[in-house]
Amino acid sequence: MPRPNLYYEERTPSPLERVWLEFRRNPLAMGGLYILIGIVFISIFGPWLTPYGPNQQIADAISLPPAWSENGDIRFLLGTDELGRDMVTRIIYGARYTFAYPFLVVLASASIGMLLGGVAAMTAGVKSSTLKHLLDVIMSIPSLLLALIIIAITGPGLENALLAIGLVLIPQFLHVTRNAIYDEQRKPYVTASKLNGVNDFYLLTMVFFPNIVKVLVVQLTIGLSIAILDIAALGFLRLGAQSPTPEWGSMLAQSLEVAYISPWVMALPGIALFLVLVSVNLVGDTLRIAIQKQLER
């Protein structure tokens, strides 16, 4: 491509800036990002935004359709369920259970998994293929099934479901971290640091970590999407969050009985879940594309 100005200066944007540019180029990805920011906001400030309590029953408003339909009431924008609970309130409260808790769980298991993965990659003894095969086996079993095994031992409940998903995600982060460090280990900059005589801890945190953090962030979004879907699925199967909790999956499970009379009770939590999952996946995909482009440069 011919360059118009003679004295041009090529400014290379920083890695973070490049990720941002990649987002700006794709309007859908921006939409996903905005939705995620909105969900984070709702899950932090939800209780101050809602006029009713999540389990508050309003006796004169049972099974009201959304406000824009003929029988709707403007007090309840998205209608009420069969017990007279406001749908908007329940969905806003549900963001905590369906998005924030899985997010925290993923963060926790990511830090444990990364630590273990780093240790596994650094120690020579564990380099044998035993760990690799064991990880392969555990990762070949679907996450929901592993979570079911753990819940079968501990019994149903939201805490147990969160614990189960957290435990299930650790091997995945361990695997990714270990592989990422393996790929970097032969690169000249690592050799240079080793020749400088840095200790293992410095090598792990200051040399490897900044270079593999991109891979880990992508894995974080994948883990988040798995965790959200699995927590909701467990809630739906009545093995996760139990009945009055406004978790979206268990709201879906309860709505089965009234799906024909008041379909909005079933549709709304599903749409919310779908939007969150699409945004998480979109953001993850865009991050992956941006990182791939950086690697190709």
């Binding site: 929901l144 079911l148 079968a152 739906f236 199967l237 093995l239 089965l256 549709a267 599903g270």
Partner: protein, 342 residues
């Protein structure tokens, strides 16, 4: 190749052995009495002493594990705590029902999934690519349990086009032999075989179609990415350079090579498919493995949980190994990498 097969099979054997040890440990980890948990016989049952003796619960855990293995291979997996059904016979029947919808969904997913992926890759960053990518992203993000309900509400309740749930109209008395309803009808040959077959087909359509969405969109993504990789390769350019027509390059050079990556990822796709099958079974009251397993976790029916988990995990692990073997057999260059790594 024989070395690779031997290695994979040995690994599978060891993994399955570990799995049985895990399943055996489950009867201790579950709350309650280990004999009850593994055999399904309550403490106040008159047979309790005999069963405990037969399972070796008088001596140490190693003897117990040995007896557990013997019972396992004899097909004596205990009885359900809820309705005293023998677990092994029930699992056999339900296994067939689960495999039926899972395999059908996988088969249905292949043609549209792969062709959409190829179309998207050939139109890289054009309208068709964007539409297919958008569809696959939303198909991938849609929670299957919600979509199944919407499908039931619209197709079955609103239009009345297909039955809501179940395997077949209960008026047809089909003797369960394999558990798979379509095969059972063919085997047992009831009086109204044609009508029964049509009824079974109508029942199976909706669950299989809903189940097929996830593998379809994942195959699309996999195929697209893999095609994009392959289309950049030198042999594609040389194919064009020597004057081959575009269809010939695509069909004979690009697609067969792109399939290699897809085959490698099939294992994880199948794992996801099994998970979704379990959820779909619950929603459509399909008398399959997942449905029974989830109900038993809810009802704390430990012998069933133990057997069901063992069976599903063993199935997934075996399928993985078989796919690995197929991959190595079909694509020799993979084998070379494996030997170099070993």
């Amino acid at each position: 190749m024989p070395r690779y097969i031997a290695r994979q099979l040995a690994l599978l054997l060891i993994t399955l052995l570990l799995l049985t040890i895990f399943a055996f440990c489950l009867s201790y980890w579950f709350p309650g009495d280990p004999v009850t948990n593994s055999a399904g016989i309550f403490l106040d049952d008159p047979r309790y002493q005999d069963i405990a003796k037969a399972r070796g619960f008088e001596s140490n855990v190693f003897v117990q594990y040995w007896h557990y293995l013997q019972h396992l291979f004899r097909g004596d997996w205990g009885v359900s705590l809820l309705d005293a059904d023998p677990v092994f016979e029930q699992l056999q029947l339900r296994f067939g029902a689960t495999l039926e919808i899972a395999i059908l969904a996988m088969l249905i997913a292949f043609v549209p999934g792969l062709s959409l992926g190829v179309i998207a890759a050939l139109n890289f960053r054009k309208a068709a690519d964007n539409i297919i990518l958008g569809l696959s992203l939303s198909g991938y993000s849609i929670p299957v349990f919600w979509f199944a309900q919407i499908a039931i509400l619209v197709v079955s309740v609103h239009w009345g086009a297909l039955p809501i749930a179940g395997q077949i109209n209960p008026l047809y008395a089909i003797q369960p032999i394999t558990g798979s309803i379509l095969i059972d009808i063919a085997l047992s040959q009831p009086e109204q075989a044609g009508a029964a077959f049509r009824s079974a087909l109508r029942h199976i359509t909706l669950p299989v179609l809903v189940l097929a969405i996830m593998p379809t969109v994942l195959l699309t993504r996999l195929m697209r990415n893999s095609m994009l990789d392959v289309l950049d390769k030198n042999y594609i350019i040389s194919g064009y350079a020597k004057g081959l027509s575009t269809p010939r390059v695509i069909w004979q050079h690009a697609i067969p090579n792109a399939m290699q990556n897809v085959v490698r990822e099939l294992g994880s796709l199948l794992s996801l498919l099994i998970t979704n099958t379990m959820i779909i079974e619950v929603i459509f009251s399909w008398p399959g493995l997942g449905n029974w397993l989830i109900r038993s976790i809810y009802e704390r029916d430990f012998p069933v949980i133990q057997g069901g988990l063992l069976l599903i995990a063993a199935l997934i692990l075996s399928v993985h190994v078989l796919l690995n073997l197929f991959h190595a057999w079909r694509y020799p260059q993979v084998r070379k990498d494996l030997y170099a790594a070993a």
